[in-house]
Amino acid sequence: MATTTTTVPSAGPIAGSRSFLSRLRDGDEIARLVTFIFAGTVVIITVLLVYEFWRESYLPRHKFGFAFFVTSVWDPIFDKFGALPFIYGTVVTAGIALLLAVPLGIGAAIFLAELAPARVSDTLQFFIDLLAAVPSVIYGLLGVFIVIPVMRQYIQPALKSSLGFLPFFQGPAYGVGFLTAGIVLAIMVIPYIISVSREVLISVPRDQREAALALGSTRWESTWKVVLPFARTGIMGSIFLALARALGETMAVTMVIGNTPTISASLFSPGYSIAAVIANEFTEATGDLYLQSLIELGLVLFLLTFLLNGMARLLIVVTSQRGSEMGQA
């Protein structure tokens, strides 16, 4: 996870005290300008992205206003667009994914950071990194041909007979639906939770553990009552990161969620998510209002992931800084 590592502060620009003219003659100012243009491109692209989404979603923002988010009719023929089923599907599937992935991911991270010898930990982390590199369409492929049949034949009937009194586990077992999408998403975000949580756990100063052990706590007690609370904010960061991934995930969800705009308490019911509806309907959208409604959905997705990523980064940085400060003290 190269993107979340903190920067090494030691090296930095050496501007030197030479005059502007001599720097110009040496070509330094030209090099600076050229690289500046490339760096500036990144900013321009990002600003342009935000601007384009804002501009291209003018019609639905103007016509529906806030009702866009709270109405559930999606009818391109009569130009009625309400995003509620998609928002519901996105939130529910991401929620299921986190419910499953967080305990498993943090458990695995604890094993890698606290228990496993360095070599074992590094080897396992290597496999986890490879797992994170598997593209989402492959997860979708396995979802279609393995997870859906297994859900339909075994897991959904089993859940129904054991927990069927709950509203979540009722209705016919299609195989596709919120639960299946949530499970596939969980498998996809586990590597992110593991990688980041492991980093954060490793950055917890050693004396914290030693102090706990010296006071007579067992290994688990030192982990649970000392190390985890110390790393709490960073682990929250990894969860936000995973949530952002889960919300924006497109292909795997599109392939297993059933693509039916429904709001249902039953997790067996087929649903739809924001990313999936964009993927399915964007090329077929006729009329500006239809297309722009889809773009507004994209804008919603963008803003959600923007907020979550920002919070995640802040939390991770705060924890690792606290760790290094304590380590130096």
Binding site: D26, A39, V43, I128, A133, V134, I138, L142, F145, A279
Partner: protein, 283 residues
């Protein structure tokens, strides 16, 4: 031993074993995916897969030659866009810039990195497809290139920053100008890391499907030039997997195996390059 202590030790052992199980489950998912793809894809892959065009709908046989070439073209364009901006941008961040500008650039890159790939697809659609009124290889390559920029930029910057300051000062003390120091000392010292960063970014976008759906679209035939819609492996996997034909499912598995093999091999090479000796002498 008091029973209280025995209980605490029991809990400790139990919970630690559980964490080990979690790690085992997480890692075994990788081997399950690999095994399943090799099993299903391996039996469906054939020479035709690499050399033939897709068969007409309803007929069996055919291959994905056009999608393989299409993916290669898309990735070439992506690299042409993503690598220079990422690389030179990183040099600016690590070597030339101080406070505010660097902060803004980094912030923008992180923002771009977090954007869901489908959103990048819409952006490329409105920026490239709409003005030219045509789905095209160029638009798909543009979308993938956008995704490469922040990954390359941020990790290249990390590796440049890891080069010890003493090396730069040494070069400048010998009278080299700053850009010469960068070109002949700093970048060569960090080249393994930079190569790794680029390869990882490449592997990341090689499997992206969502940004291609409404930029490169898809094509059942060869796509000449850069202005035509083109097939690509990830999109083919998607279309074939959700289609109702058994023969298409078979080919989706084969395509999945090829794509995953490519991505994992590039990943492993990238990590090997990085781990073979430290990039810079420790001072």
């Amino acid at each position: 031993m008091s029973s209280r202590l025995r209980w605490r030790k029991l809990v400790s052992h139990f919970m630690l074993t559980m964490t080990g199980l979690c790690a085992l489950v997480a890692v075994s998912v990788l081997f399950f995916i690999l095994g399943y793809l090799v099993y299903h894809g391996g039996t469906s892959i054939s020479w035709n897969f690499f050399t033939k065009l897709p068969a007409p709908v309803g007929e069996t046989g055919g291959g994905m030659a056009n999608a393989i070439v299409g993916s290669a073209k898309l990735l070439l364009l992506a690299c042409l866009l993503g690598v220079p901006i990422g690389f030179f941008g990183a040099i600016y961040l690590a070597e030339f810039s101080g406070g505010t500008v660097a902060f803004v650039v980094r912030y923008a890159a992180d923002l771009l990195n977090g954007v869901p790939s489908i959103v990048i697809g819409i952006f490329a659609y409105s920026l490239v497809v709409l003005p030219f009124k045509h789905f095209s290889t160029a638009a798909g390559g543009f979308a993938l290139g956008l995704m490469m920029i922040p990954i390359t930029l941020r990790s290249t910057e990390e590796f440049l920053r890891a080069v010890p300051r003493a090396l730069r000062e040494g070069a400048m003390a010998l009278g080299a100008s700053q850009w010469k120091t960068i070109a002949t000392v700093v970048v060569p010292a960090a080249y393994r890391g930079i190569l790794t960063a680029i390869l990882l970014a490449f592997a990341r976008v090689a499997g992206e499907t969502a940004p291609l759906l409404f930029t490169a679209l898809g094509n059942r035939f060869w796509s000449p030039g850069w202005a035509q819609p083109t097939a690509s492996l990830p999109v083919m996997i998607f279309t074939y997997a959700i289609a109702p034909y058994d023969d298409w499912h078979r080919q989706a598995w084969a395509a999945g195996l090829v794509l995953l093999a490519l991505i994992l091999i590039v990943n492993i090479i990238a990590r090997m390059i990085l781990s073979r000796g430290t990039t810079v002498p420790r001072t």
